[in-house]
Amino acid sequence: MRRILLYVIILTTGFVFLGRLFYLQVVDDSFAVRSNDNAVKVIYDYPQRGYIYDRDGELMVSNQPSYDVMVIPRNLKPFDTTELCEIVSLERKELERRLDKAKIYSPFLPSVIVPQLTKSEYAFLQEKMRNYEGFYIQKRSLRDYHVDHSANVLGFIAEVAPATVKKNPYYNSGDLIGRKGVESVYEDTLRGVKGVKYIQKDKLNRDIGPYKDGIYDTLPERGKDVTISVDSDLQAYGEYLMTNKRGGIIAIEPSSGEILSMVTAPTYDPADLVGRKRSSNFSKMWLDSTARPLYDRSILAQYPPGSPFKTMNALIALQEGVVDTDDTFSCHHGYSYGRGRKMGCHAHSSPVNMNQGIAQSCNSYFAQVYRKIIEKYPTPQEGMDAWNKHVRSFGLGDYLGNDLSTGRPGKIPTSEYYNQIYDYPTYRWYATATLSNAIGQGEVLLTPIQLANMTATIANKGWYYTPHMIKEIDGKPIKDERFTKKHHTTIDTKNFEPVIEGMHQVYKNGTASSMQVEGIEIAGKTGTAENFVKVDGRRMQLTDHSIFVAFAPVDDPKIAIAVFVENGYWGGRYGGKIATLMIEKYLKGKITRKDLEDFVMDPKNSLEDEYEKPYSGEPFLINDGKKNGWL
């Protein structure tokens, strides 16, 4: 017994130690992480972000250095606070507050004291820096905008959200990431790949050399430059024309699907979201809940398309063989359909054939044509779905699958939709119940980019490429299958001829005849769409939207465009003029119809007062008695 005791104690101790070691070293694997947190610092070497060029090679976005004043509190020596405060224009108390904060964060680690100095502040401070021990200047790279437009196209860069950091291991908290627009969609291309350096730290957090002699370190890879399809001049002009208005414009090159212009109004100068003013500017725009400058109406706003949608019904009617181009329908200031219901129309000659129907935008004509389409089939459900299939073949009613950071599907109703709202089969519904679809009102909703794509498809006589923004990456043309595959509609090419002819007549003799530009043959269509808004739970009708679609030249389309101007009275008043001006700008590079531009830009014709109306709390008139029918 006396001999055994010590054996037992020694062996027990040995086994307890082995067990504890096994637990620490093999079972519990949290120590490796804690060890790296402790002893290995990771430093990232951020590459230059790629530049963004417009379709003509004009530089839109590059980078600029920005200078942050940093401090390591432990290294601070007494300094002339008054002088420093003056140079960086900071209150003395504020400086002291920030220094205290830095000290609390860590006496050994750098903290930002003054972010993003201006160039002159930097130049001045640089000379004096030796007087401020403990401070140093850290260079960072910010976006430098060479244009004051295209904010919605370009997007911006901002600190990465915590959720993204969790999802994507590439990003670390504090990294910058593209948000919205090209910056977001081509983030991976533009950002490059950051380099990593692992540094061995000691217990005071000082660097004591590379970790494992740098075998895990990588070099940064520069971001690639991106050329986008947008025409910078056209974009600038579009944003200029939309001053004092709300709405969106999309211009597409029909032969390629390239987006030439993507205008939303109101918008902002992209430089507003860079630098020290960024955060106050951003919250100001974020909080503007009625004008919503951060909301890209050109791809997000779903509007009733109005009369331009009549061209769609004309195409479907021809394809379904329910009318001939020569068939005429009468119009007596509208179309009455059962139980005293009537769809109004404006004054024009009657009866009209297809060409005149489009040119005069006759509601009555399209109401009857639409009925024929739906009623061709034994049940309204089948008719509705046949109609829906045709419309969808133009890329409407669904996401386009483009390279824009966001989008909306719009709305193209199906039979199922009507079955639901009319509680079929308890109640039945007929073509007349959906008659608003004939004139692009009612259940039909499209975003400007969808309407522009429809116009481009008509210009191409039956096919389209998915609208897109990318043109070249690092100077090499892109070959993205999404954008090089032709989408064919269900409408035969021959059926487009009469519709295009009708649209040409709109410009020659119809509702847009006052906007003719010498030497340019345009096919277009006006639209005036009723619209409603809910303010404090009350549904109110507002002044009609002004809509216009067009493409030109008619026989060799170079540009297809859709313009929405919210509450712009009627199609020709703003939409038509803006579309015509944009087309002239793009095709000729200069403006001959100065009178159109003057009208659109006249402060008297600002729509700001129109946008105030629903929020004034007072009863208000819509269309100010200027209502001119369904143009």
């Binding site: 070691l21 490796a32 060890s35």
Partner: protein
Amino acid sequence: MMARKTAGYDWLTILIYFLLVCFGWANIYSASLGSDPSGSYFDLNEVYGKQALWIGLSIFLIVVILAIEVKFYQRFSSVIYLTALFLLAGLFVFGKTISGATSWYAIGSFRLQPSEFAKIATALALAKYVSDIQTNIKLISHQFKAFIIIALPALLIVPQPDPGSAMVYAAFFFPLYREGISALYLVLALTGVLIFVGTLLIGPAWVSIAVVTLAALSFLIKKKKRPGIPLLLFIVVACIGLSFSVNYIFNNVFEQRHRDRFNIVLGKEVDSRGIGYNTNQSEIAIGSGGWTGKGWTEGTQTKGHFVPEQHTDYIFSTVGEEWGFVGSGLVVFLFVCLLLRLIFLAERQKSQFNRIYGYSVVGIIFLHFMVNIGMVIGIFPTVGIPLPFFSYGGSGLWGFTILLFIFIRLDSDRLSF
């Protein structure tokens, strides 16, 4: 004289000794490596260079120890013991204070820590006294004399202050127990420790309840085997009294730093920045080693000098980090082998003196091993004593070398009795 039979040296022990010393040096090298190593392993400006020198000199010491006539150790043990006591006492006058403890003599740049040698002297003196033909260790009065031999140096070491080194003298229980003192001492000591820890964990009230319950349960055993009621009552009162006085001493006599050390090991406090920093960093270093470690001189914790005193008391954390479970397990294995081998050697001695000395060696090495590694892996309170053969320090290395090789010398001569 020349014809005397010798049994030869125990080469297994010597092998383990050299394995531990060399592996220890490799870890000291890694733990004390600056950011720009001079290139030479023997740079005397560096800790590892000095340790290499101490190791070299140890070999010289070994040769001397093995050359000395065996009878010398037994005959001169009293003189050696008294010298050690003088050296310890002299510290109060001539001692040099390093990091709070007056434990060193300084002669130029050379420093000597007499407490590392006092253990050997005590072991020799105890062996001499107990093996004396007139000593009967079963007698209380003789036990008391043995206790004085052990306690004198310990009492001189405590006020340096170096309670850790003083605690090591508890190791002498093992030889005394082997020679026949009652196991009751151990039971008493363990009960004391149990009540101490129990009081800190659950408070004196619950400890009292537990003691009373146990006493009541003892009535279940047969009357003949049960202690009498007066004794039982005495035990219960003594335990409860101890518990309450522990509670009082802990809260009113201990300083906060002492309380912290216990609280952290008992898991009552998590404080990884202050007093718990050492243990926390040491656990991180060891835990991040994994199966096979990060490789020699590749330990990130070691390189960053996160673990304080890593080349001395916390040297084992370097082993854990750079050599992983394989390396640290091997060290534990080597120590256990060494200790078991030494017990085996002690048991084969014919001379009682040799056996007592052998058990003393086992006890001292074992206590250092248990307390040091226990502390480094976080299952013992922080007590600053070195890991034998491993930790940096000339006095420590020489102390353990002399301690061990005197025994090897004694063992080699065991047949001459």
